[in-house]
């Protein structure tokens, strides 16, 4: 499917390149097609794709011929992972804390405001939030850089400076992702906590005369976290979707942007490669989650 999906797009990449560079010469397009291996039948293409995939190759990009797709993806992936993972962790942590606070004071002022805001933010177009963030923090206030993952002409710097720079530049993209994903997560965690509050063991914990702190941290917090753990891993797939707009708006060199451009220029190998990588990483994440889960929840066993 990875293979077919991009190929269903209309238009021929070789014609496109030829038209833009060689007065649309069909002979030239034909030469390009041969170079890309697009002159063979779709089956031959498919089998060579599979063969290469088994060797860990994703083929060679058309639009940046003759660079291997894996090289392109490997360069982009870390940046996307950085912002996606960091923002997921931050938003999850915040959501956890605020979700619990809101649940504790269900119906209270904080709760009403938090939940209302969360709903509202959830229905806000993501890219718009990002745009507003660029506008305010990047352009007008100039607190953070508006683009790039690192400063221009950075030169040699110490590791610490390097990391500092990385996060200084990732701040706005991460902030925008956090703002958006925080809302949804908070609502979910809040209702998880509320759900846990209705459990008999929590009633019993109260009856036991435990300190409020103990009830909250030992009994409510952890149990409320569990149901959303697997969801957390799955949500990374969405986060990548979110990354497309982020990277576009923040000129951030990640994989979302790579996909977007590859699709627009019909560069099948890159599209295929990105989809494969994303699918593989999400599947791996889920697998890891399944491995870790038994340690968090003793009810689940590993077998």
């Amino acid at each position: 499917m990875n293979f077919l999906l991009p190929r269903t797009m209309g238009g021929d990449p070789a014609d496109f390149i030829a038209a833009n560079n060689a007065m649309g010469s069909p002979e030239y397009a034909e030469l390009l097609r041969a170079q890309f291996g697009l002159d063979q039948s779709i089956f031959v293409q498919y089998f060579s794709y599979i063969r290469e995939l088994l060797h860990g190759n994703f083929g060679i990009s058309f639009t940046s011929f003759p660079v291997p797709v894996s090289q392109i993806i490997l360069k982009a992936l870390p940046w996307t992972l950085l912002i996606v993972l960091t923002s997921t962790l931050i938003s999850f942590g915040l959501a956890w804390v605020f979700g619990t606070l809101a649940a504790l004071k269900k119906g209270g002022k904080l709760d009403t405001i938090m939940v209302g805001t969360a709903f509202y933010v959830q229905s806000t177009p993501y890219f718009w939030v990002a745009m507003m963030i660029v506008m305010v923090f990047g352009y007008y206030l100039d607190w953070f850089p508006m683009a790039h993952a690192l400063p221009a002409a950075m030169g040699e710097v110490s590791n610490l400076q390097f990391i500092g720079n990385v996060f200084y530049h990732a701040a706005l993209p991460i902030l925008s992702l956090v703002v958006i994903s925080f809302a949804g997560r908070m609502v979910v965690l809040r209702s998880n906590v509320l759900q846990v509050f209705t459990e008999d063991y929590l009633v019993l914990a109260q009856a036991k005369g435990l300190h409020r702190r103990t009830i909250l941290f030992r009994y409510a917090f952890r149990n409320a976290f569990l149901p959303s753990f697997t969801g957390l891993m799955l949500s990374l797939g969405f986060a990548v979707s979110g990354a497309i707009a982020t990277e576009l708006i923040f000129s951030y060199p990640g994989i979302g942007l790579t996909i977007m451009n590859a699709i627009l220029s019909h560069d099948y190998p890159i599209v295929q490669g990105c989809f494969a990588i994303i699918a593989i990483s999400i599947i791996t994440m889920n697998f890891l989650a399944d491995l870790v889960y038994p340690f968090l929840d003793p009810r689940v066993t590993l077998d």
Binding site: L5, K106, Q122, T124, M131, T198, F238, A245, I259
Partner: protein, 297 residues
């Protein structure tokens, strides 16, 4: 004859009962409904409300808000207020239609896979899982690049094609648990057909979930429409809120301080989506408390 009439009357009162139950009793639902009705009214009477033709390139570019142009003019010299008013039409109808399409497919697949299980159901769910692993926005972009250009219909199909996945999943899990309930066994023991059980027995019981899901999908559809437009995959011949934002971004509205161009469409999307979410959420609340859900402690 008489009987039939009677049952119809009954039916109505049933609807009214549900209406009262789900909507009137719930403040949040009331707020949601009123906001959304306002938007729908604006959409319907757009030509009467909007002072100008939304696409007419008649005025000075970058005009600031004034009495003549409440929200100023955009970079081409189009009246932004008129565009916002007309945008309600496209954005909301894309949302609603995509929501309906999604619900239709999602409910069918979800019910089928959840109740009948079997091979077809399993394959369907496999497909759902496979697609869910891919970043949906990217797949939508591919689809957008693939489908022949048909404007709004295109947009609706693209959004619908992917958002039914979640819906099918949620309906399926709901159906799975519902089909463990004894009334389903009872229906089976009575010899009712599969489709009667799926649609007449199970569906009415998960209806609030369906509705809530649908409402969420509507919100998501409006957001997706905006995002796709922003990425340049929308239909430029239509004025939608997403399209407006897209053009605002592309034309560097930021450097012109054109908040009057960037804020209103975004706020409209958020507000409309918010009101849909309110409705959906209050449905779910009532549903779960109907099922003896959370008892407060």
């Amino acid at each position: 004859m008489n009987k039939k009439e009677q049952t119809q009357v009954k039916h109505k009162s049933d609807l009214r009962m549900n209406f009262e139950k789900y909507i009137l009793r719930n403040t949040r639902a009331k707020i949601g409904i009123s906001i959304i009705s306002m938007f729908i009214l604006v959409a319907i009477f757009a030509p009467l409300i909007a002072p100008y033709e939304p696409k007419a390139i008649e005025f000075m570019a970058w005009e600031k808000p004034s009495l003549k142009h409440p929200l100023g003019c955009n970079s081409y010299g189009q009246d932004i207020f008129s565009q916002v008013v007309h945008g309600a039409r496209i954005t909301i109808s894309v949302g609603v239609l995509a929501g309906l399409l999604t619900s239709f497919v999602g409910v069918f697949v979800g019910l089928y896979a959840g109740y009948k299980k079997g091979r077809v159901g399993n394959i369907l769910m496999r497909i759902v899982d496979v697609f869910l692993v891919l970043p949906s926005l990217a797949v939508m972009i591919v689809l957008a690049a693939f489908l022949p250009s048909m404007g709004v219909i295109n947009m609706i199909i693209i959004i619908g094609a992917l958002s039914w996945l979640w819906m099918a999943r949620s309906i399926r899990s709901q159906t799975l648990s519902e089909s463990q309930r004894e009334y389903v066994f009872a229906a089976q023991a009575l010899g009712k057909g599969d489709f009667e059980i799926m649609f007449k027995e199970i569906l009415p019981n998960i209806f609030p979930v369906v509705t809530a899901n649908m409402v969420m999908v509507i919100t998501m559809s409006m957001l997706t429409e905006a995002t796709l437009s922003f990425l340049g995959l929308g239909d430029p011949n239509l004025v939608s809120w997403g399209q407006m934002l897209s053009i605002a971004f592309d034309n560097s509205a930021i450097i012109y301080n054109a908040w009057y161009w960037m804020l209103p469409p975004g706020l409209c999307i958020a507000t409309a989506g918010y009101s849909f979410m309110l409705i959906g959420n209050s449905f779910l609340d009532i549903y779960s408390s109907d099922r003896g859900g959370a008892i407060q402690l």
